[in-house]
């Protein structure tokens, strides 16, 4: 198949962007969850 290398490179690039964004979202979500847990603990300590 002619020009297949360009198609393959584009295919990899698309999935790389998706995965990078997904990992980024996952990390931020985990950070937010930790912060919520920390705030819950602080509220419990105060009450």
């Amino acid at each position: 198949m002619k020009n297949f290398e360009y198609l393959l490179a584009a295919w990899i690039a698309v999935w790389a962007v998706f995965f990078f964004y997904q990992i980024n979202l996952g990390r931020r979500f985990a950070k937010l969850r930790d912060e919520v847990e920390r705030l819950k603990q602080q509220i419990q300590l105060l009450s």
Partner: protein
């Protein structure tokens, strides 16, 4: 089954189906061959970008009028997805351009304005990370987002006067005797490049 899980499964199934159809079902294009299949995710990424940015604009305008944080969240969600789609478009464009035009990149108005706007969209996300006060951050980023997004129509307007646009010279070239109003058909051709490839295939 929970709704997010179900929607994720449906989207994954649709991605797999469309990926299979784009790679194996669609006929090979006569001149660009496999590189033409890049259009199956290059053009949709721009369409998705415009939809996401429209959502971001709605979110930011609604935030500026109501000051409700949920609109700010909608705005930033739309902006992030739009930036991801814009990045995909900017990466896959040169990968299609090399076999089609013979060059990776050219500083023509269309590509240059798109690249500048991509930088602005990135700076929008950076700006949000730099301001700690959430209300001030939402307000400033909503105003900045308006500045970023209104740049796109201005860019397109400027491009319409530039005859040496690389994409125009290749895809949107106006044949002799053809009126400017017929350029709309050319835009439709670009969008139809993927699905309409069977008309240009040897089979």
């Amino acid at each position: 089954m929970k709704r997010p899980v179900l929607s994720t499964l449906v989207v994954t199934l649709l991605i797999c189906l469309s990926g299979y159809a784009a790679l194996f079902v669609a006929p090979d294009e006569r001149t660009m061959h496999a590189a033409q299949r890049i259009f199956y995710f290059h053009v949709p990424s721009w369409i998705a970008m415009f939809v996401a940015f429209l959502i971001a604009v709605i979110g930011n305008i609604a935030y500026l009028t109501t000051r409700s944080p949920k609109w700010d969240w909608l705005g930033v969600a739309g902006a992030e997805v739009g930036v991801a789609c814009c990045t995909i478009g900017l990466i896959t464009g040169p990968l299609w351009g090399k076999p089609a035009w013979g060059i990776w990149w050219t500083w023509d108005p269309r590509l240059t304005t798109t690249f500048i706007l991509w930088l602005l969209y990135i700076s929008y996300l950076l700006l949000r990370g730099m301001i700690e006060d959430s209300d001030r951050c939402a307000r400033m980023s909503a105003v900045f987002w308006g500045f970023c997004v209104y740049g796109r129509p201005i860019g397109l307007y400027v491009e319409s006067f530039m005859a040496d646009s690389a994409s125009r010279s290749c895809l949107l070239r106006r044949p002799q005797g053809r009126s400017r109003s017929e350029d709309g058909e050319s835009v439709a051709f670009v969008c139809d490049c993927g699905t309409g490839s069977r008309h240009r295939s040897p089979s």
